[in-house]
């Protein structure tokens, strides 16, 4: 067959597509267990690091620590009722695409590592949108549901050195000790515009990230949206005393 003929080009394209496609499919499927294990491990690591410093732990130690620290995990809906569904099946990014009312929300109850067995913290996973792409995180509240114990944020494609700083410890520790309630009203901590200001006196504000205002706004929206969604659950836990306004 002549190299310039249309049928040669057509057959060449088809063969090339099949070869490349199969190669990719084999690679993707072959590496799937590793990738899923990485993501699952990363999630566990992030959940733990909202309440404690886990630097220096080996992978095996972290697994054991996770088993010891996480008291229980369950799912709630936007009315605060528990949902009977396998916990692992709920993917926070899939839920984010649904309307707020339809989302199923995971809750992690964690113990203080020094006092195992007793719930000391509640960790809430969240999902949102930064400047370029998805951002997500885990926020740990103390058992009073007012004070933030710690946060971990991550992102897919924020600008390195700017918005990507949400994934850095320096930024995340700014949230520790801040509050999501003002008396009985929901008043979620918000990141401010500009950097270098002192907000130690204000429990509802944290210092911003210079050059990453939009990522900060996405972060604020994510925090507000998810704590509003978790509010009925928190309300149930607190005996129906708290409200949006």
């Amino acid at each position: 067959m002549a190299k310039k003929s249309n049928s040669y080009v057509l057959i060449y394209t088809i063969v090339l597509t099949i070869v490349c496609g199969s190669l990719l499919a084999i690679t993707s499927e072959g590496l799937k267990p590793y990738k899923e294990a990485n993501i699952a491990f990363d999630t566990k690591r992030n959940i733990l690091s909202t309440v404690m410093d886990i630097s220096g732990y080996s992978i095996r130690d972290l697994e054991a620590l996770y088993q010891k620290t996480v008291v229980s995990t369950y799912l709630v809906n936007s009315k605060g009722e528990k949902v009977d569904k396998p916990f692992e099946q709920v993917k926070i990014d899939d839920e984010y695409r649904k309307s707020v009312e339809e989302r199923i929300l995971p809750v992690y109850e964690l113990a203080d590592p020094k006092k195992p067995g007793k719930t000391a913290y509640y960790v809430f996973p969240m999902w949102g949108f930064g400047l370029w792409d998805s951002i997500w995180g885990w926020v740990a509240l103390e058992a009073d549901f007012i004070n933030i114990k710690g946060v971990v944020f991550a992102h897919k494609g924020e600008t390195p050195g700017l918005g990507a700083r949400i994934a850095e410890k320096d930024i995340q520790t700014r949230f520790t000790g801040k509050k999501i309630f003002d008396k009985e009203q929901l008043a979620v901590v918000q990141m401010q515009k500009g950097e270098g200001n002192d907000y130690t006196a204000d429990a509802h504000k944290v210092d911003g990230m210079s050059g990453a205002t939009i990522t900060g706004q996405g972060l604020n929206k994510m925090l507000s949206e998810y704590f509003e969604a978790y509010l009925p659950f928190i309300n149930g836990q607190k005996g129906g005393k708290v409200s949006l306004k």
Partner: protein, 221 residues
């Protein structure tokens, strides 16, 4: 140049594996014909992923892998590729290897893959990769194509590492995440400009100037 066989080569063959000509394929792009500082290719990613050294190193290794594999494959099938769709074929070959690299990183060095994010996928658009396929691998045997790809990818990796070194050092006061200024007891206020792409432009511009003044290279008018 071909009859002028390498002096260090002891193998008495027509064309030793590392003949002078072949060695030049690797060494040329490191110096006088560097893809970044002389040909000014691959600038986009050189600006994007050089804020820190670790992602720059992984990016360099990924580009070396992608370029070597796609050059060898393209060279092997070069006689079968129909001229009318040769760019599409090259693109498909490069894209396949880039996605494989991304999958491997996600499976085995998850943290780094997370850090590099979209930039691994964007190796496909790196002009150096397709530039070498089109200019060299399409017309040469697999072994020289491999050397040419390796040399050019190495030339790219070395430059982005140099840029990343200055950006991380001046921007964040660290090298590979280690706070060097703090370690020697010097309070250093990071220069935020160096972390922005503008900082990379400045470093890269200075490098290009240095390289060209050393080599005496001038753009032809």
């Amino acid at each position: 140049m071909a009859e002028n066989t390498a002096t260090i080569s002891e193998v008495k063959e027509k064309e030793p594996l590392l003949s002078k000509k072949n060695r030049k394929l690797v060494t040329d792009p490191l110096d006088g014909n560097n893809p970044i500082t002389v040909q000014v290719l691959g600038i986009c990613s050189a600006l994007a992923i050089t804020a820190q050294m670790k992602p720059a190193l992984v990016m360099g290794i990924a580009v070396i892998f992608v370029m070597c594999c796609s050059s060898v494959v393209t060279s092997l099938i070069r006689h079968t590729i129909p001229g009318s769709i040769r760019i599409v074929v090259q693109l498909a070959v490069v894209a396949t290897f880039v996605i494989i690299v991304n999958e491997i990183l996600l499976a085995f060095v998850y943290d780094v893959a997370k850090n590099l994010g979209a930039f691994i996928g964007l190796i496909i658009t790196n002009c150096i990769v397709m530039g070498r396929l089109e200019a060299f691998a399409m017309g040469n045997k697999p072994w020289p194509s491999f050397l040419d790809a390796f040399g050019n990818a190495l030339g790219y990796a070395v430059i982005i590492l140099i840029v990343a070194f200055f950006r991380e050092l001046l921007g964040a006061g660290s090298i590979f995440g280690i706070k060097v200024f703090e370690a020697i007891g010097f309070a250093y206020q990071g220069n935020g400009l160096m972390l922005l792409p503008a900082g990379a432009s400045i470093v890269l511009g200075l490098l290009i100037w240095l390289q060209r003044s050393l080599n005496g290279y001038v753009e032809e008018a």
